[in-house]
Symmetry: C3
C-alpha cells in the first residue's frame, strides 16, 4: 500500500494548495489561508470517518496529513505569485488526488460493509466534501454542484471499484483501474470542456428568479 | 410501525423534491440537483445520528432513503416544468414529513435517554437541518431562521411528545397526537400567513447595516 | 475544577450573546436568533466531541449549556437596544470564554491521547468553530478567517498548554497560564488593533477578481 499512501499525500498536497489559493483570493489573513488549505485537504476524509463511525478520524491518528497541509498552504501563501508556473502540474495532481481519494473512500466503506450506494457515496464524499467545505467557508455555492465533470468522474470510479471487488481481480488491480478511470475522465473533461446538463429553464422559474 | 415508515418515506420524498427544486433554481447541473435533494431529505436524520453517536447513520443502514431521494430528485430534474401541478400536494407532503421527522427524531432521542431540551432539539434538528443544509449549499441564509412558523411547529410537537410519553398513553397515540400538532400548526401557519416576531429595530443597528 | 466550570458558563453566555446579536442584525425571527445563539455558544465543543468520538457531545450530557444559551439569547432578543451598555463587558467575557474554551478543548484532546497538532487544533476548534457556524448560518465568510488576532491567540494558548503539561507544573497552573495567554493576547490585539498579514496582491489575481 506504499504507492497508495504516496498518491494520497500527493493528492492531499494538491487539495491543500487549491484551498490556500481560494483563501488568498478571498483576501483572508494567513490563518484563514491555513484553515482553508487544511479543510480542503482533510475535510472529505474526516466527514467520511465521522459517518462511518471510525473515530477519531484518520487525520488525528496520523498527523502527517495535517502537517503536510499546513506546510503546503504556507508555501502557497508565500509564493503564490509564482503559482502560475505550477498551475498545470496542480491540475494533474488534483486529478490524481481525486482518483486516489475515491479509491480510498470507497474501499474503506466496503470494509465497513456498506451497500453499493453508501460505499460509492463515501468515495465521492471523500474526494469532494473538502472542496465543498472550502467553498462554504468562502460563502460561495460549492463549485462541484455547478459545473464540470468532477463529481461524476468520482461516481464512475467508485461504482467501478464496488463492482470490480466483487470479482476475482486482485485488489491492487481493482484500485488501479478505478483510480485511473477517475483521473482519465477528469482530465478528458478539462481537455474537452465537458459539462453536465442543467434544467432547461432554470433561469426563468415563475416562483422567483435565481437569488444572489 | 409500518404507518410511521410509510409517512417517513413520504416526507423523505417531499424533502428531496424541495431540495432538487432549490438546486434547479440555482442553476446547478444534474449532479448538484441530486446532491441538494439527498442533503435536504437525509441531512437532518444523519446529523441527529451523528450527535446521538448512533453510527453508521440510518441512511447507511437502510439505503431505501438514498435511492428514494435520488429517484425523486431525478424526476424533479426532468419534469420540473410541470411541478406547478404538484405545488399544492407538495406543501401537504412537506408538512406530513415535518411532523413525522419530529416524532421519529424526538422518539429516538428519548430512547437514547436524552433530557427534555436535548430530545426536543433532536426532533427539531431531524426535521429542519436538511433544509438548513440545502440553503447553506445554495449560499443562502437558512429559510427556517428567517420566516414562517416552521421550526416552532416542530418545537411544539417535540415538546408534546416528550411530555405525553411520560403519561400512560400508548406510544402510537402519543406519536399520532404529536405529529398531528406539527402538521396542523404548519398548515395553519401557511393558510393564515403567521410569522414570528423579529427584533424591533433590526434594520437600524448603530454598529453596521444588515450586510448582504 | 469549579472555577473552570464557572468560566466555561461565562464564556458560553458571552458567545450566545454574540450569536444572538448576529441573528438580530440579519433580521432573523426569534427562533433564528435562538438558533444562532445556541450554535455560537455550543457548536465548537460539539464539533470537538464529534471528532474525538465522545458521544453524545457534552451539551447532551449536561443541558445547563443549552438552557443558559437560550435564556441569554432570549434576553438579548428582548433587550438588545440596551446592549450598548454591555458592549464593553461583552468583549471581556468573550475573551475569557476564548481562553477557557481553548484550555478545555486542548485538555480534553490530550486526555484522548491526541498528538501535538491534533490537540492544539481541538482547542482552537472548541473556541472558534461556534463563531464560524454563526457566520455560515448568516451566509457570510467566517470573521475568524479574515481579520484580527483571534484564532492566533487560541493557537498560542493551546500550544502552551500542550507543552506545559509535559512539565512538572501542576495542572491548574498550566491551565491558568494558558488561558491567561489567550485572554491577554486577545485583549492586546483589540487594544492595539493587531492583525495578521494577508497575501500581498490578493486583490489582483490574474485568474479572477475577488468574487462577491
Amino acid at each position: 500500500m506504499t504507492l497508495l499512501y504516496a498518491l494520497d499525500l500527493l493528492g492531499t498536497a494538491a487539495f491543500a494548495a487549491s484551498g490556500a489559493l481560494a483563501g488568498i483570493r478571498r483576501g483572508m489573513d494567513v490563518f484563514g489561508v491555513l484553515v482553508l488549505g487544511l479543510a480542503t485537504a482533510t475535510g472529505g476524509g474526516t466527514l467520511r470517518d465521522l459517518l462511518l463511525g471510525d473515530s477519531p478520524p484518520f487525520i488525528l491518528k496520523d498527523e502527517t496529513y495535517l502537517y503536510l497541509s499546513v506546510v503546503v498552504s504556507l508555501l502557497v501563501f508565500i509564493f503564490h505569485r509564482r503559482l502560475e508556473f505550477f498551475a498545470n502540474p496542480l491540475t494533474y495532481f488534483d486529478a490524481v488526488g481525486l482518483g486516489t481519494f475515491v479509491v480510498i473512500g470507497t474501499g474503506k466503506a466496503i470494509e465497513f460493509r456498506l451497500g453499493f450506494f453508501g460505499a460509492v457515496m463515501m468515495g465521492v464524499l471523500t474526494a469532494t466534501a473538502g472542496g465543498m467545505l472550502r467553498d462554504l467557508l468562502s460563502a460561495k455555492v460549492p463549485m462541484v454542484l455547478q459545473k464540470e465533470v468532477y463529481a461524476s468522474a468520482c461516481l464512475a470510479g467508485g461504482a467501478l471499484l464496488y463492482l470490480l471487488q466483487l470479482t476475482v481481480l486482485p485488489p491492487y488491480i481493482t484500485a488501479l483501474l478505478s483510480a485511473s478511470t477517475v483521473i482519465i475522465l477528469r482530465l478528458l473533461a478539462i481537455r474537452y470542456n465537458w459539462s453536465l446538463p442543467r434544467a432547461a429553464d432554470s433561469t426563468v422559474p415563475t416562483n422567483g428568479a435565481v437569488r444572489k
